[in-house]
């Protein structure tokens, strides 16, 4: 809808609604940011802003006692999520291309299976997986997490990408072939550039899913060898036995949010749709 066509009254309402949603969504984030700057004694005061702004919590997780726990977890999270995303996007690109372009028996089966896998509750397979992984030696390793993450990211990747590929006019590929391209050249020079925004969108979604996972992360790891950040947060301890590690957890939460924000900002431009506009008669 055209903004200019909205009456001023409607516009005001949209603003109010927008602000309400933003406050609702961002208030907890702001609370955590504020927590991460508080001193331990300040934590229980229930006031929004810290009385003293201190970097102690960050110091703690990045250089202090929690350093080992947090930095290795960060490394695991980044590595595992990136690898899972990469594999999932590559596989999903080929699968979705085939689904969108080719007619083959079992096409619907693939899509419905993907959907079925996606709606299967994680919690119900984590126990059998735990036993299996222990037996075959995948427990507490990177592949031991990457494989279950693929089961989360692949279905959604295949679905989004095949929807995206379907929008790319088939004729472009044929035009390229008539212009002298091989099938591979047509794919690489025409389809891939057009599909890039879709691939990026899918990659980001996949990365978030892997990055945010908690259940697999806590169940299938036991040491710093593979434990990702969301699971590691649960293992934080306070400076003393009687202190809650709230400040450290808040600081870690803020730190792990940063890559996500950066990713979105970086690829925001790439996620614009409508790149195929103008290929055909408009």
């Amino acid at each position: 809808m055209d903004e200019n066509q909205l009456s001023r009254g409607t516009k005001a309402w949209w603003w109010v609604a927008g602000v309400v949603v933003i406050v609702y969504a961002l208030f907890p984030v702001a609370w955590i940011v504020s927590l991460s700057f508080k001193t331990p004694s300040d934590l229980a005061t229930l006031q929004f802003l810290p009385t003293n702004w201190v970097w102690d919590n960050y110091d703690n997780i990045l250089r202090g006692d929690a350093q080992d726990l947090f930095l290795s977890a960060l490394r695991n999270s980044v590595g595992i999520s990136l690898i899972a995303t990469f594999i999932s996007v590559v596989l999903a690109t080929f699968a979705a291309y085939a689904i969108a372009r080719l007619d083959f028996p079992g096409k619907r089966l693939i899509l419905t299976t993907a959907l079925a896998v996606a709606i299967f509750p994680v919690i119900s397979i984590v126990t059998p997986l735990f036993n299996l992984w222990r037996n075959i030696g995948l427990y507490d390793t990177w592949p031991g997490l990457i494989i279950p993450y693929l089961s989360l990211t692949l279905p959604i990747s295949i679905w989004t990408l095949s929807a995206f590929f379907r929008q790319i006019p088939w004729e472009l590929e044929q035009a390229a072939q008539v212009d002298g391209a091989t099938t591979w050249q047509a794919f690489r020079k025409v389809i891939v550039p057009l599909a890039t925004p879709g691939v990026f969108t899918t990659a980001i979604i996949s990365f978030f899913i892997a990055w945010n996972d908690f259940v697999y992360g806590i169940s299938l790891t036991s040491t710093e060898a593979a434990r990702p950040v969301p699971a590691a947060l649960a293992f934080f301890t306070g400076a003393s036995q009687f202190e809650e590690p709230t400040g450290a957890i808040a600081a870690a939460a803020v730190v792990v949010t940063i890559p996500v924000v950066i990713l979105v900002l970086l690829f925001q431009r790439r996620i614009v749709s409508g790149l195929t506009q103008g290929a055909v008669k408009g």
């Binding site: 035009a175 390229a176 008539v178 091989t182 195929t276 103008g278 290929a279 055909v280 408009g282």
Partner: protein, 435 residues
Amino acid sequence: MAAITLKDINKRYGDGFHAVKDVSLDIADGEFVILVGPSGCGKSTLLRMIVGLEDITSGELRIGDQRVNEKAPRDRNLSMVFQNYALYPHLTVYENIAFPLRLAKTPDKEIDERVRRASDLLELNEHLERKPANLSGGQRQRVAMGRAIVREAQAFLFDEPLSNLDAKLRGQMRTEISRLQKRLGITTVYVTHDQVEAMTLGDRVVVLRRGVIQQVATPRELYENPVNLFVAGFIGSPPMNFISATVTGDSLHTPFGEWKLPSSRTVDLSGHEVVLLGARPEAFEDASVVSDTVREHGVVFDATIDVIEWLGNEQYAYVPYEAPEDIRAQLAELERELDSEALRTQLVVALDASSRIPEGTPASIWLDLRRVHVFDPESGENLTVSALAQRGEAEPNQPAATGDGRRPAPGPGTTDQPATASGSATESGEAPATS
């Protein structure tokens, strides 16, 4: 540049649909051939088989002197303009045009030269750095043309390239394509279902119906000597009038009276009880403006005109009449198939612009019987044309094609047809008269 030869080409789609049936066609080097027919008759399928995007089920396709059935599109060296242009949205106009050259690994300098030459020709110079999304329909169409002409292809193939443009632009681009083709002299196959394009652009026109070739002829031949009801109804606007007639001896009993064909148009009517007479609107005239010298070549009958459309240079009068039920059903069927203009049981009569017959009154109308065709209602065959052919008077339907054999365009149902008013003109544009 090369000739294209199709021999008994068939296409069966995966679902068993037989879309193209036994098509044989010789397209000469440099010739401009048009494929026309109603929607779904297999025009695109045929074109896509030539370019290699669709497998040929059976038959042989030769380009130049090579069989190309098994070759991939890129090995056939043809260029094609798609109906919706299929421009690459992520590339600039320049890169779109350069695309085939880049694939062929042409040196940059030559690419630049050729792209500039094409863009000069198509007046795209100021748009070279823009993206297709920001161009107008006509500009996109020209970019698609540019991509097609930039390399030295053996032939151009067009699939309804103008159907997405508005009427005015279509007219302009039509002339543009015609000029370009003459200038480059490249063999061209052009698919359209617009009959103005069909009549004005091509050296020869191929009329397709349900995957079967009906007639291959010059536009003039097609207009004047259609081989069957389908072609007769498809070509011409307003379409040919069909009047049912019962046969008694050699006289024809029509809703407008008893008619007898002149000796030059006689056909063997034995074995036919009912025939359909076909007459183009311009074969009729207001009896009062027909000069005495030609009056004897036709018949005069009375009819009530219910509507008159005055167009300045001529006028169309509509004369409703009653037709037998089965004939009416057949005409309705034909109309459905042609999905073009209505073929009601009414006559559309082109009258001289000076004629002053008022609407809604009985008028005296003259019909030039030398321009009447007799059709077999069952098979749809044009008996007049076959009779003429037997007597060796009609042009053969598939004349040796020459690339430069262009003819002045007789636009269907337009003014190009010599005014029928002054009788002397009726002689022209008719199948050769007998001596």
